[in-house]
């Protein structure tokens, strides 16, 4: 399912004295099956942007095409379920959406809403709980007895249970420890390899460098850059104006350049950096 934004503008509180612009003429294509990262400063409109993809928000003007669905300002709230089934959304701090008595019931909640039978939903719960790194014994526990990290996993499982084609992640690893962070990110990368489209909002440039195939930069509601991470991180214009920060490897490479090393393109992952340094040292 390809997602296309065409001249999408979104204004909060239209026709009121407090109206303010969330998105300003955004034209963006999110390719099927890729891992796309969306970055930008706090309040730049990233969350506003992704809420359009499952029609939680509708554009004030412009159109969004998701597969064969077209969303415009006139789209009404009926019949959005098929769309929301295909687009899973993991919100920031998703653990706050848990409410059922048991983990199992909570995970089953999504699939049941989308019309799965109880047996199917139970089966789905059993599969996804393992996917997020917990075992079946957690299914009978109350979600409120779990630790913060485990609650996060259960919440993510609840979204994955409806088997969405596209998964939107709004800073899924915020507040997790480094191990948990890596586990969760690898889980999403695996899902992408298996054919899902992943859209990730993040402030962590290393995650962008390590996992994303494409990226988009939002600044004050405007899309200011999009492309391969390697290209975007080498965009001198953006760097000069402090609109993006570099991943650690690129930062390090920049330091090395002052010591006489030369890079045609800044390496953005540790592996690339390593290969590049090795190559240059051997070459000399």
């Amino acid at each position: 399912m390809e997602i296309t934004f065409e001249h999408v503008t979104h204004s909060y509180d239209v026709n009121s004295p407090t109206a303010n612009l969330g998105l300003d003429d955004v034209t963006l294509k999110i390719k099927n099956g890729l891992f796309t990262a969306i970055i930008g400063q706090t309040g730049s409109g990233k969350s506003t942007l992704v809420r359009h993809i499952n029609a939680l928000l509708k554009p004030t003007s412009g159109t969004i095409t998701i597969g064969d669905r077209v969303i415009t300002s006139d789209t009404n709230n009926k019949n959005l379920k098929p769309l929301r089934k295909q687009i899973g959304m993991v919100f920031q701090f998703p653990e706050s959406q848990l409410f059922e008595e048991t983990v199992e019931k909570d995970i089953m909640f999504g699939p049941m809403n989308f019309g799965a039978t109880e047996t199917e939903a139970r089966e789905a719960a059993r599969t996804v709980i393992k996917l997020v790194g917990l075992d079946e014994s957690y299914l009978t526990q109350s979600p409120f007895d779990l630790s913060g990290g485990q609650m996060r996993r259960v919440a993510i499982a609840g979204v994955l249970a409806s088997d969405p084609e596209t998964i939107i992640l709004d800073e899924p690893t915020a507040g997790l420890d480094p191990v948990g962070r890596k586990e969760i990110m690898s889980l999403f990368k695996d899902l992408q390899v298996k054919g899902k489209t992943i859209i990730l909002i993040t402030h962590n440039m290393d995650d962008v460098a390590n996992y994303a195939d494409a990226m988009a930069v939002i600044h004050r509601g405007k899309l200011i850059a999009q492309g391969f991470p390697k290209e975007v991180f080498n965009n001198q214009e953006l760097l000069k104006n402090d609109l993006i920060t570099l991943p650690k490897s690129a930062e390090f490479a920049k330091g090395l350049m002052q010591q006489g090393f030369h890079f045609d393109k800044l390496p953005i992952t540790i592996d690339e950096l390593g290969t590049e340094i090795k190559h240059q040292l051997n070459g000399d």
Partner: protein, 265 residues
């Protein structure tokens, strides 16, 4: 949620903003009281002129005040309609069954309408120009005499200011949880009554749970910063009563006298 203007603070600066919140708070109540003194065209026109003048002084976009009327628009319409058709009259213009439409009815309906507008405008003016924390400080200051009868004024003021502080946060949290559940396939406002009520469980439970955890975290944070109980604390925000506020009281007194005069005129 974003549409409710009444009760919202709007940052700004004008003479109304600089008035002492205690004075503003009490005078607003006082004004709502004296609105009921008005009984003829002249007195209503006078009050309306006063409110519009106050709105003008606040330098706030007039659109906000119109917006403030919106949530209770139907209530106003309903009340006005009742007055319009149920006022008994000896010279009805139009008569059908128990419905009468007369000049007296029209006048009373117009009065009721203006009364609503006056009260909403003046209370919108208070909340738009006064931060919630100023309002809770004023309430604390006004309730102070009750300490004599062992009423826990400081505790009540603390609860009030915490509650006010967390209203916007809880509104945000509610919106977020609603969005999250919508993304999981919940339809709010669809289906029969029972189904609709049931669809609110996935919002209410997370909201309660997060309120508990916020309360717990806040209590720990307060204790670790040395909060014991309300007694024996000094104050950071000190309310200042100035000449401007005395002038305001004088102004209100003159207003009342003129109003009493117009009333019997």
């Amino acid at each position: 949620m974003d549409k409710i203007i009444l009760g919202r603070y709007l940052p700004g600066d004008s003479i109304i903003y600089r008035l002492d919140p205690r004075g503003k708070f009490l005078l607003t109540f006082y004004f709502v009281g004296i609105v009921f003194l008005a009984n003829n065209v002249a007195s209503y026109a006078f009050l309306l002129a006063f409110v519009l003048f106050a709105v003008y002084l606040s330098k706030i976009n007039f659109g906000f005040f119109i917006k403030g009327l919106q949530p209770i628009f139907w209530l106003i319409l309903f009340t006005v309609a009742l007055q319009l058709f149920f006022t008994p009259s000896n010279h009805p213009i139009w008569h059908w069954g128990f419905l009468t439409f007369s000049k007296e009815g029209m006048v009373i309906a117009a009065y009721i309408f203006i009364r609503f507008v006056l009260i909403i405008f003046i209370s919108t003016l208070l909340t738009l120009t006064t931060t919630p924390i100023e309002i809770s400080d004023s309430i604390e200051s006004i309730l102070k005499p009750l300490k004599k009868i062992n009423f826990p004024v400081t505790q009540v003021a603390l609860m009030l200011s915490i509650a006010l502080r967390f209203v916007p946060l809880l509104v945000d949290e509610t919106t977020k949880i609603m969005d999250a559940q919508r993304a999981r396939g919940v339809d709010f406002g669809e289906g029969g009554l029972i189904k609709r009520i049931k669809s609110f469980v996935p919002i209410l439970i997370p909201l309660f749970v997060s309120s508990f955890s916020i309360a717990y975290d806040l209590a720990i944070a307060m204790e670790s910063r040395g909060y014991k109980d309300g007694e024996g604390r000094s104050k950071y925000r000190v309310l200042n009563w100035s000449k401007r506020d005395n002038f305001m009281i004088l102004f209100m007194t003159v207003l009342t006298i003129i109003l009493l005069f117009l009333r019997s005129y």
